[in-house]
């Protein structure tokens, strides 16, 4: 009985680790807050590295009104907002727009050349092509992620498969 509980505990820990790792690995996470006055405030939390370049594409017709970075570290050109991250851990900017919609963005880490997509809060961990992803516990995780599932779903899939395998072994014994 105790052994059975230990195994269930191990499975639970594996499940939690799988859920936590992709979130921690996410490079840049965006939170967008659209106010009633037509001003959208965006906060980017940077955990991909110390020296990054981020490009955000804001909705057509939108105009960037402010950015928390020093003026020398950002540049708005058309629908693009380019930002140089020099050890800042978070950045916020605002834009006015008559059209609703969230920005899309990419980042490049100039410490190691890795890159990825800026991900919306709640959708963390979806890498862009070529983005670095932390090693996953098994190919099951990799396959699930490549199939377009979120890491949370992939983690759940792995845990479910692991638990199913465990049950099969137990039942087959």
């Amino acid at each position: 009985m105790i052994q059975h509980m230990q195994r269930r505990l191990i499975l639970a820990v594996i499940f939690l680790v799988i859920l936590v790792i992709p979130a921690a690995a996410a490079g840049v996470i965006r939170t967008a807050d659209q106010g009633k006055d037509g001003i959208t405030t965006v906060t980017l939390v940077v955990s991909a590295g110390s020296f990054l370049g981020i490009t955000e594409i804001i909705p057509d017709g939108a105009v960037v009104t402010s950015c928390s970075l020093p003026p020398s570290q950002w540049r708005a050109e058309g629908t693009y907002l380019h930002m140089a991250i020099l050890e800042e851990q978070d950045v916020s900017y605002s834009f006015t727009s008559t059209i609703s919609g969230e920005p899309a963005g990419t980042w490049v880490n100039f410490s190691d050349g890795s890159r990825g997509s800026v991900t919306a809060a709640g959708d963390e961990g979806t890498p862009a092509d070529g983005a670095e992803v932390l090693p996953t516990p098994s190919s099951v995780m990799s396959a699930a992620t490549q199939a377009g599932s979120s890491p949370i779903l992939a983690g759940g899939t792995l845990a479910a498969l692991a638990y199913a395998g465990y049950r099969r072994r137990e039942e087959g014994a």
């Binding site: 020296f51 370049g53 490009t55 570290q73 540049r75 050109e77 693009y80 380019h82 490049v108 100039f110």
Partner: protein, 409 residues
């Protein structure tokens, strides 16, 4: 006339190299004042991003330039890095090295200990190809000949940022290579580093660590050596060491020994051995067989792995030859009167673990042989396995002691 054969190709290659060489300018230093500021790094990043987004690429840097600029800003304080090499020359780096030619295997081995990726090495000396078991990753890397017969065309064809040559070994040949490279392209930095002598090896490691921004790795390697050397020094300083045993050392050439001034002599003393030919005027004397017997060595160490004694080592050639070689050595006429033979203290040591960076492993074996009761905690086979696996990234099985020493501990 021979020296001019390579000149036309050199001139042709100079054009290619001059176009690609960037050692002279610091990436991101937009105003050229040899200082990379926060604003300049920021501007480089923004220009790169704008170009990547299709917003215009005028004056946009390449991604590698931005990565290098970030490294210079964070690790170098935004300034060119000044490095004093083993020859005492101050060399100025204006960007991290990405393409290097390495013309001494000891430096190449040390670079591997510092985890410098092999992709950074664009050409090596011809002897690397003769060590496929130890340098498997460089078997398809272009060869630039040797320091005695360098292939200048191949050196320049590799478009190196830097070339590594010995500092003191064959200094004249290396001086000439350095001068010719400078004449062909002054932007190529030539570093002179030995990675060869025990007394300077740890300094060389630190220099390499500084050049490649691998100080964490160089600190770890230096610590590995220091631990062993401190163990030897402390043991030999203790009263338990007593008087140093008389040692006859012989290279793979029969009756060729070592005298003061030679690396072998220094290494014998480092392990607490008293060289019976310490009074030799020559560094590598060929000694009189009778003199060996009359000087009554308590320990005999014969180096193998070359000449008539080419066996064992990383190539694993004919490992069964160790036993007969030892029997032949101990059975030399009159040697039954030598204490080392009568007491079973005759040993074979492979040159792979006595020359170059691996001298530390050979030293550990010598210390155990010279002082079997003093250095009981010194475990040379374990030390060897640690070196090849932790620092060289090789299978520890290649450090099988039966391939490097005899008798096997």
């Amino acid at each position: 006339m021979n020296g001019m054969r390579w000149l036309p190709a050199l001139i042709l290659l100079f054009g290619i190299v001059a176009q690609s060489a960037c050692a002279g300018t610091m990436p991101g230093d937009l105003n050229g004042d040899d200082t990379l500021t926060r604003e300049e790094l920021s501007e480089s990043i923004l220009r790169f991003l704008a170009c990547s987004a299709g917003d215009g690429c005028i004056d946009a840097p390449a991604e590698q330039d931005v990565i290098d600029a970030a490294t210079i800003y964070t690790l170098w304080g935004g300034k060119p890095k000044q490095v004093t090499d083993s020859a005492g020359e101050v060399r100025s780096l204006t960007r991290p090295l990405h393409r290097v030619v390495v013309m001494n295997s000891e430096t190449l081995e040390t670079m591997r200990s510092l985890k410098i990726p092999s992709s950074c090495v664009v050409a090596v000396d011809k002897y690397i190809a003769q060590m496929p078991e130890f340098f498997p990753e460089y078997q398809n890397t272009p060869s630039v000949g040797s320091i005695w017969s360098p292939d200048y065309e191949q050196i320049l064809a590799g478009r190196p940022d830097a070339v590594f040559l010995y500092a003191t070994v064959s200094a004249q040949s290396c001086d000439e290579i350095e001068q010719r490279i400078f004449s062909a392209n002054p932007d190529i930095i030539v570093f002179r580093i030995d990675c060869y002598h025990p007394e300077t090896y740890r300094d060389d490691v630190n220099i390499l660590g500084g050049i490649f921004d691998r100080t964490k790795e160089s600190d770890a390697l230096v610590e590995f050596y220091t631990e062993v050397l401190d163990t030897l020094a402390e043991g030999l300083a203790s009263p338990a060491a007593g008087s140093w045993p008389a040692v006859y050392f012989e290279s793979w050439t029969d009756y060729k020994s070592a005298g003061p001034g030679s690396g072998y002599h220094d290494k014998i003393e480092l392990a607490g051995g008293s060289n019976i030919f310490a009074d030799s005027a020559a560094e590598y004397p060929v000694v009189d067989p009778e003199a060996i017997i009359s000087r009554q060595p308590e320990v005999v160490v014969k180096l193998v792995g070359s000449g008539d004694y080419t066996f064992g080592g990383y190539s694993m050639i004919n490992a069964s030859a160790f036993g007969p070689a030892l029997a032949g050595l101990s059975g030399r006429p009159g040697w039954n009167a030598i204490p080392a033979v009568s007491q079973g203290r005759v040993y074979l040591l492979h040159t792979a673990i006595f020359g170059g960076p691996q001298y530390i492993i050979g030293e550990a074996y010598l210390a155990r042989w010279f002082y079997p009761d003093l250095f009981v905690d010194l475990d040379p086979p374990a030390l060897h396995r640690t070196y090849v696996s932790r620092f060289q990234g090789l299978d520890p099985a290649v450090a099988d002691p039966s391939l490097f020493v005899y008798p096997v501990p």
